[in-house]
Symmetry: C2
Subunit: 389 residues, 2 copies
Amino acid sequence: MEKFIFQNSTKIIFGKGLVEKSLGSEVRKFSDSVLLVYGGRSCKLNGSYKDVTSSLIEHSVHFEELQGVEANPHISTVRKGVAICKDKGLKAIVALGGGSVIDCAKIIAAGALSNTDPWEFVSHKEPIESALPLITVLTLAATGSEMNSGAVITNEETGEKYGVGGDSLLPKVSFENPEYTFSVSKYQTACGAFDILSHIMEQYFGDVKGSYVQDRMAEGLMETVIHFAPICLEKPNNYEARSQIMWASSLALNDLLSAGHSYPWEVHPIEHPLSGFFNITHGHGLACLTPSYYRYVLNAKNAKRFKEFATNVFHIDSSLPEMEASLKGIVALEDFIKSMGLTLHLKELGVDKDLFRKCAEQALGENKYLGEFARLSEDDIVNIYNKAY
Amino acid sequence: MEKFIFQNSTKIIFGKGLVEKSLGSEVRKFSDSVLLVYGGRSCKLNGSYKDVTSSLIEHSVHFEELQGVEANPHISTVRKGVAICKDKGLKAIVALGGGSVIDCAKIIAAGALSNTDPWEFVSHKEPIESALPLITVLTLAATGSEMNSGAVITNEETGEKYGVGGDSLLPKVSFENPEYTFSVSKYQTACGAFDILSHIMEQYFGDVKGSYVQDRMAEGLMETVIHFAPICLEKPNNYEARSQIMWASSLALNDLLSAGHSYPWEVHPIEHPLSGFFNITHGHGLACLTPSYYRYVLNAKNAKRFKEFATNVFHIDSSLPEMEASLKGIVALEDFIKSMGLTLHLKELGVDKDLFRKCAEQALGENKYLGEFARLSEDDIVNIYNKAY
């Protein structure tokens, strides 16, 4: 195992009925005037907006609103939120939504305490030193942003989409009420489930040495997603299935699986340019790219890992030879994606293949190779895009 | 899944070479005068005492010492530590050792800020409201105390041994250097490994409904212990095996496995009187009692859980009927215990069976039944003691 520092102090308040009961009092521990950040209508339809605002009002927390945060949130929306916080002297943020809303709120929280333009943070030109306290109310299980210190923001003018992190971005408190996800569409439920699965796989397909306990936990989390995502699709109001997926989303990306070993993250970076340019749903982009990437990088040297994935997660016969089991594991993954109603082909998402070279350039940034597992060159990335087209 | 609140803010600093590098600076964030609590000679032999004291000195942290904390730590030792803290005005505690030292340090930390006799805390007569900040340096993988807010203390005059908890007891920082455990004896390594396994099993043998993700993680942690404990015994200086066991000890009991479902804890409470009266090693007491308890409580209603344990942890053939697979799982557990050189019989530990009734009374305290899984009566507990004799 490698050296590591692990600390995750987010307080998770999980279960139905707790936002209306405790949100206001939890928020007041940090401030009595906050910015409430949310997306569109869905939080008004699923009851979460009412629960949040009534609890804030009950505890005499003054709030201003920033609504309309988009999927793949825009830097211009971040700037709007920063301006409101500064104008009104707000001292904390409440994010009500999924990963896009929470990510947007994180960078607003950083921008509100700084004179730097927030794109400087996102594009890694300036480090994030401090941020307003953030309290989240999760309404979509997917990104894990509710229990980590990362955020992904898009510059809608340039199509650039980057991830950024900072200790001060970690939410102080996150409320997880599975009922809020009952009304999430089948499509978004499936994309969210695959995003969770992808977070786990990104940390699993790395160095096999020195990650035994992490790998076993990762396999358990993957089994959870694979078991419960279909139930959520078939029975959207199944509280237990929604609960398992929601808690799995937080555990998948809260540093628990990555502590103590290196992890390559090769699929997310090649997906980000696609959702940046074409505004496709991130989880669906990942679902198209992941099996193609696995088929492209699988070789005799790394097949041990692919076979473990196949046998321990999809229960493929462990007596099969390494390469055969590995391929069966990838097929099982493809079948799982298709069973959730998602396509494996970028073409069907309206992606323009003429931009693959430009996307690959952006995925690499100033580097010649991407990741540690397969070490992808620009040509490799273009080849994977084409395979997934 | 049941409602839950999860928050564990302990900062884990894991790996070799980090105590000498960072302990002093981490301690200084809390105080420049501390009580250093440790046991006997082992911390001087394994190098940890030198690493700790040189880092404290380098960062100009004044320290007083309390040495001689015993296994199953005594309330009289706690009182000694409290007196030193008060006399010298010390404002933080550094615990160097295994679970006994850390538990002792926790109650010293609580006692130092109170005028209550610390046995009042341990015997649940007074709640623990506050405590001095605690920094731990772990030298034995077993109890998980380095990453939780519980402690177990023995009253050596009455033989009473109780567990107690309080949010303020959670260590601020815990250093985990697997090298410090290289010199732990085979016997203590085996007892520690079984203690870890028991913590996981206590949370696993509960309500099967609503704990899917917790169960899968628990199985992964159990597999880790079963895989690496024998390697630690055969090759005491194997860094990887010692690492996996050490990190598993923390993950086993940091609230991660228990969040979201009820968990019965029936074996620990019936073991505590035995180690309280007879001063046997806690992990060995658990190893004797657990299989007997499982054989005693297994029935058609709960066999589903036992079969999952058998097939998912010990890889018993899943096509076997429930009861047959369940029994094979218990046999596999017994074989694992014996393979580590531990006995299954309390008699061989010098336990006096004439005290079983008294131990059972103490395990129950003022309750008529113990636990939620099997709901043990006093007679049940005596029967289990006798089975394990």
